[in-house]
């Protein structure tokens, strides 16, 4: 998995929306680019850039905290600490899920494509799919459950 995708997943855990993730990822990339000379080869790149991303996420959350549903600092710290030890597991889940998505029938994949297109709000996606928000949510829950089960199975087969 591209490291960008790992970073995205990591930041999505910490931040309330994908827009926030994009904002923080931009800032993180800029800082990483500027500070790249400070990155020591043979050290843990994900940990390094993860630390930058984490500080940016924290700063971003504080700025937004007044009017938004943002996790508090304690929880952000816990989530960030635990995340950085799990990147290999995330990688394997990502691969497993990609495999499951490849096997998904086209009619089911269509619902996902509605729901997960960039920048779309949930109710907009429902409207686009021609469903009520509740009905659309139920469809998605069923699909996510299918994917989760498939992913768990894939992981069980892939781990010795």
């Amino acid at each position: 998995m591209a490291h960008e995708s790992r970073l995205r997943g990591f930041l999505r855990t910490l931040l309330p929306t994908w827009e926030d993730v994009d904002d923080v990822l931009q800032e993180t990339s800029l800082i990483a680019w500027r500070k790249f000379s400070q990155f020591e080869p043979n050290t843990h790149f994900m940990a390094w850039i993860g630390t930058i991303a984490r500080f940016e996420a924290l700063r971003h959350s504080r700025n937004k905290a007044r009017d938004r549903l943002v996790f508090n600092d304690d929880l952000l710290d816990l989530l960030a600490d635990e995340s950085l030890t799990e990147t290999d597991l995330r990688e394997r889940e990502h691969q497993a899920l990609r495999h499951c998505l490849d096997k998904l029938p086209a009619d089911q994949a269509r619902w996902l494509e509605h729901a997960y297109q960039p920048g779309i709000k949930f109710h907009e996606a429902a409207q686009l799919a021609g469903k009520s928000v509740t009905a659309f949510y139920k469809i998605l829950q069923r699909l996510r459950a299918i994917l989760q089960t498939c992913m768990t199975k894939e992981l069980q087969h892939s781990t010795p």
């Binding site: 490291h3 960008e4 995708s5 995205r8 997943g9 990591f10 999505r12 855990t13 994908w18 994009d22 990822l25 931009q26 990339s29 800029l30 990483a32 680019w33 790249f36 990155f39 080869p41 043979n42 843990h44 790149f45 994900m46 850039i49 549903l69 996790f71 508090n72 304690d74 929880l75 816990l78 989530l79 635990e82 030890t85 799990e86 290999d88 597991l89 995330r90 889940e93 990502h94 899920l97 998505l101 269509r110 996902l112 494509e113 997960y116 297109q117 960039p118 920048g119 949930f122 686009l128 928000v133 949510y137 998605l140 829950q141 996510r144 089960t149 992913m151 768990t152 992981l155 069980q156």
Partner: protein, 518 residues
């Protein structure tokens, strides 16, 4: 009843969909703060969400025929909606990282997708894969055909299930009873635990209740606390002593199981004691330690040799190692944890064959060599018995011909296949090794199954075996001019026997059968 329902899975999905209410957000945050499992779930679902978005984006950048036009046709650049150079910066930093990525980063971290564990069983039989107490359970359906089993969910909820029963474990917070009798205890930390049953969904508010499911109908009884029962039409609160639904059988009692388990353990202990009393009279024994803790021993360090007739010269002394519970309540063991922990002995004599056998609970194979029994130093004819870092059993004995320089390695090493894996750690196992100095054959056993049989190419017939000063659980006094390596066992031993003969596979099996914990 109008109790707002809180389901962790749904809350996380709503959070990721951007449709979570502020009230539920507060509850989600509270749950996440105190529950590591919930945080792990959030991280997993976040990554799923990221993967799904990547996947959607990739599909949409290729033309789709069966796709209706979207009002905002997305492209990779609109994904970022940012000046192009910053995207390039990410790309560049990430590309560089591919080059610089250190190799060791890729070594996979041990992971588990477990959500519960099987803590107790009583005469339990399972329909598909057999489960043992101590097993970690991943989401799946458990079919118990007979007996009783206790399942401890990682959320803290505990369920007692009586066969025949079928229970689908969904997560550490959720399960579905398809048939059978079940009794659930939910501590405050696991408040919100969901149990699905035909025709109803039970949300537990910190309580104890029982559920009977038969012919697709459910009946529930609350022993303590409160349960919200959601049916198709209504949600109702069930308080202490209340029953919902009809059942012809009693609800599952809890006290019985623990009594039965205690009785069974006592029977196993008694059976082992009978066998042990007989086995200690075997004239082939050099030493036999049962790790009996003498509470009136003022020094509290005595490890008696129990061979009959008694040979106190072969008794051992515990250093560091602490007394702990053995295979059953009432049977003691010595726990080896710290680098100094060991039992020291001095065994006289010269022998032509040997058998070493012990009951050990290995908590972790965390060193290159993990000691079972080693002689001080490593002179000719001295055996070393250890667990190698890959989880295999390792027996070695050295015979250096007179013309070989002292610095040359000249030891016969025998490895079994790996036996200590995530599945066998933390449980009591029987280990044995036999060595015949005439044939040079070493046979290794794990729970009485042969796991290695070999003759070393370095073997020279009829060389004597000696012990002298030696240790169980460590190797503390190595040869001169060597640093003292750390080789202490991480685990506990509650029986150790040393014989001057090769025991037959049948005899090893008898030892195992007499002493197995369950």
């Amino acid at each position: 009843m109008n109790v707002p329902e809180f389901n962790l899975n749904e809350a996380i999905d709503h959070h990721l969909d951007g449709t979570l209410s502020p009230e539920d957000f507060t509850r989600l945050q509270e749950t996440l703060l105190f529950d590591p499992t919930a945080r792990a779930l959030l991280r997993q679902r976040s990554q799923m969400d990221a993967t799904l978005r990547d996947w959607t984006l990739a599909r949409q950048s290729t033309p789709l025929t069966a796709w209706q036009p979207s009002p905002k046709p997305p492209t990779p650049s609109s994904w970022f909606r940012r000046p192009i150079q910053t995207t390039l910066a990410t790309a560049a930093a990430i590309t560089l990282a591919f080059v610089l990525w250190p190799k060791e980063y890729n070594s996979p971290e041990a992971t588990s997708s477990g959500v519960a564990m099987l803590s107790q069983t009583l005469d339990a039989e399972f329909a598909h894969s057999p489960l043992r107490s101590g097993d970690t359970i991943t989401p799946r359906t458990i079919k118990l055909t007979k007996g009783l089993t206790q399942i401890e969910f990682f959320s803290g909820a505990t369920a007692l299930l009586e066969g025949a029963a079928e229970l689908e474990i969904i997560s550490s917070w959720e399960a579905r009873c398809l048939s059978g009798r079940i009794r659930v205890h939910v501590p405050p930390a696991a408040k919100g635990f969901l149990l699905h049953a035909p025709g109803m969904k039970l949300e537990d508010l910190g309580t104890e209740f029982a559920l009977n499911v038969k012919d697709n109908t459910s009946a529930v009884h609350v022993f303590e606390g409160e349960v919200i029962a959601h049916t198709d039409r209504t949600s109702s609160s069930l308080k202490q002593g209340m029953t919902l639904g009809n059942t012809t059988t009693d609800f599952l009692p809890i006290t019985e199981l623990h009594d039965l388990i205690a009785q069974r353990q006592q029977r196993r202990l008694d059976a082992w004691q009978d066998w042990s009393n007989q086995a200690r009279t075997d004239p082939r024994l050099i030493a036999y330690y049962t790790f009996k803790h003498w509470t009136d021993d003022r020094w509290d360090r005595l490890v008696n040799n129990f061979t009959e007739p008694r040979n106190p010269k072969h008794s051992g002394g515990a250093v560091g190692a602490r007394w702990t519970e053995g295979r059953w309540p009432g049977k003691e063991a010595l726990g080896f944890k710290r680098p100094g922990d060991r039992v020291r002995m001095s065994l006289e004599g010269t022998y032509s064959a040997l058998t070493l056998s012990c009951w050990v609970k290995v908590d972790s194979v965390d060193k290159k060599y993990n000691s079972l029994l080693l002689t001080d130093g490593y002179d000719n004819g001295e055996p070393h018995w250890q667990i190698f870092q890959d989880g295999s059993l390792m027996f070695s004995i050295t015979y250096r011909p007179g013309d070989v320089p002292k610095s040359a390695k000249y030891n016969q090493i025998y490895y079994s296949k790996p036996v200590f894996t995530a599945d066998s750690l933390g449980r009591w196992h029987h280990l044995a090794v036999t060595y015949d100095s005439t044939s040079g054959e070493v046979i290794q056993y794990f729970d009485a199954q042969e796991v290695g049989r070999e003759i070393s190419p370095l073997h020279q017939p009829a060389r004597p075996i000696t012990f002298g000063p030696c240790e169980i659980g460590n190797w503390g006094l190595p040869t001169q001019n060597h640093d003292s390596p750390i080789r202490n066992l991480n685990g506990a031993i509650d029986e150790f026997a040393i014989y001057q003969a090769v025991l037959s596979p049948t005899e090893i099996l008898q030892q195992f059968e007499a002493g197995k914990p369950e």
